[in-house]
Subunit: 341 residues, 2 copies
DNA sequence: CTGTTAGCGCATTCAC
DNA sequence: GTGAATGCGCTAACAG
């Protein structure tokens, strides 16, 4: 087999070699690299030539060891696989693209243990700031982390860290979505919600209830079904409901993936969407515009959120005042809902 | 606003302070940390107590500066947003979980410029090995990179780096899929392929043609439609075909996302799947089991691939011989295909 | 078994 | 403007 050799090849000389090659001191070279001070034109030329000849690249580690700044921002997402977080990450990456900062990604996997490990790793790696896209940690723990590194949170509102928390009005959006169903004439509306421990899941559920009670409609506990934000759980839960012959005419799913699961359960029983049952999701994943039928859902502007998060991090790192913007969660009307009857 | 302070807080003392606190030399502390040599029980106790008291954590940068090994493996995916690569990444993360190595992710965004930048950044950050999940770079460039850092490639077969390349038989799998359609009696089969510059896209297209010619069927250039692996492109291309009233009875999409786009185009025209048109995808994304109808598709064992890639990297880093395994691409039969007539 | 010494590669005071 | 010296925090010889 073609071996790589166990050691990385020496990377084009050190600042010392450049200095010798150019006949100047290393401080002069350093000044040229960092633009710290003016340097005579001829020396600058000589140094630049030497750097080029030796294919010189400053050593990141040595440099960071001194300055204390690694020029990286750590990003931990609950799950990189999730299309939702992936798009936020895309926004972060994009916003950082033409800055000296680099994102470093890691996953929390919805697990306290993994998330803790990821955080420790990134702090150990000396990231200059940390972005948490969702978190399973307690407020206290989070405040502790914020004491070790500038911390910016998405999807959590932690007392004491408010100005670095970006949350969306999940409850209001869920209320909107449910109300839309009510306005279409639906009365028995199923809600597929995520894990009770999950803040977003909880808020959406409350929004659903708000809409019902706000319209003077009764709450039907048997219509609130728990899932885990994945397709399968929703399909199962709804299938059980169908088997129990509990009547309903609409479904508000806690996210688009659960909407897809619900959709399949309906399809299996020969129920049409939206003719027999109306369906609304939450997230507006890219794929949801292409489901059959295209899904009516709540849009979370994930990409823009990622950008906002990154820009805020940049500001914080620059020591500038910065406020996280607010985002609306519009209901995107497509074809999975229609008036009852 | 709640400020973070511009500087990260001092992280629980240095090895020097620990040594002083414990009344030993720093080398003794270093030995205990790294298990480099045996240390008397009482000193070990004292040092561990001191480390705990000072909340000591060795400085990653200083350590790496000396050892030359950062204990990280860089991972560059064309696109983290893509569900396909995301699952490979999940496999990589998982395989690295209980090792001293940490993955560091970055995106190439299907762009030579971005990919080059990502590679430079990661090498600059001194990753010990680099995993490329897809690449837009030339063979020569890739060989150049391999000279700077141990390189492992997925989805590319580069002469000279064969033993570190993991590729799948896209062509054979595409042939299988198409042949399945042929065996069901289909003769006019549309193929939605990805960008011509993309190796996978090219190979799948060839597999499609192989199947046709292998069965003695004619190639119909008007049935080969180009897309970009996203839903929208497929929907458009197929809509055009439908408008032009070109007859066909089946569609083999270059990936599941394009299959979804095609599905919607058919739906818009009132064509049923599989009753009027059979549809096959490629990738077997998690969502594809929940489309309407569930999609027949070629499964790429992405998670296992990620694991294999990471394990190979580990072996290479350990200086052990290692061979990348082969993976089958089975056709997953679901409900989007059926015999003609 | 343990302490002393010398750097890793670079930014950063200081003098000149 | 520029060079010499100092040290970031740690590991790796080197002596004892």
């Amino acid at each position: 087999m073609v071996g790589h050799g166990k050691r990385v090849k020496k990377q084009g000389g050190t600042i010392n070699e450049v200095a010798r090659e150019a006949g100047v001191s290393i401080s002069t070279v350093s000044r040229i690299i960092n633009g710290t001070a003016f340097v005579a034109e001829d020396k600058r030329r000589a140094v630049e030539a030497a750097m080029h000849r030796l294919d010189f690249q400053p050593n990141y580690l040595a440099r960071t060891l001194i300055t204390g700044r690694s020029m990286t921002v750590g990003v931990i997402a609950e799950d990189i696989v999730s299309p939702f977080y992936a798009d936020v990450i895309r926004g972060v990456e994009h916003a950082l693209l033409d800055t000296p900062y680099q994102p470093v990604l890691n996953s929390g996997h919805w697990s306290t243990r993994h998330e803790t490990r990821a955080i420790d790793t990134l702090i150990y790696r000396k990231v200059d700031a940390l972005l948490l896209l969702g978190s399973t940690l307690t407020d206290d723990t989070l405040r502790g982390v914020a004491g070790r590194v500038p911390l910016i949170l998405f999807g959590r509102r932690v007392p004491g860290l408010e100005s670095h928390c970006l949350t969306l009005d999940q409850r209001g959006a869920a209320l909107n979505a449910t109300r839309h169903l009510i306005e279409l004439g639906h009365r028995r509306i199923v809600h597929l919600h995520g894990p009770p421990g999950q803040q977003d899941a909880q808020e959406r559920r409350e929004g659903y209830r708000d809409a019902l009670t706000g319209s003077g409609l009764p709450l039907h506990p048997e219509l609130e079904l728990q899932g885990d934000f994945l397709e399968q759980s929703a399909a199962q839960a709804l299938t059980h409901l169908l088997d129990a012959r509990v009547p309903f005419t609409a479904v508000f799913a806690g996210n688009d993936q659960m909407a897809a699961g619900a959709r399949l359960a309906l399809y299996r029983r020969g129920l049409r969407v939206p003719d027999d049952v109306s369906l609304i999701g939450f997230d507006d994943l890219p794929a949801s515009a292409f489901t059959i039928p295209p899904l009516t859902t709540v849009r979370q502007p994930t990409y823009q959120i990622g950008q906002a998060l990154a820009r805020h991090a940049l500001n914080v790192l620059a020591g500038q005042p910065s406020t996280l913007p607010d985002f609306d969660l519009p209901l995107i009307m497509r074809e999975s809902t229609r008036p009852l009857r």
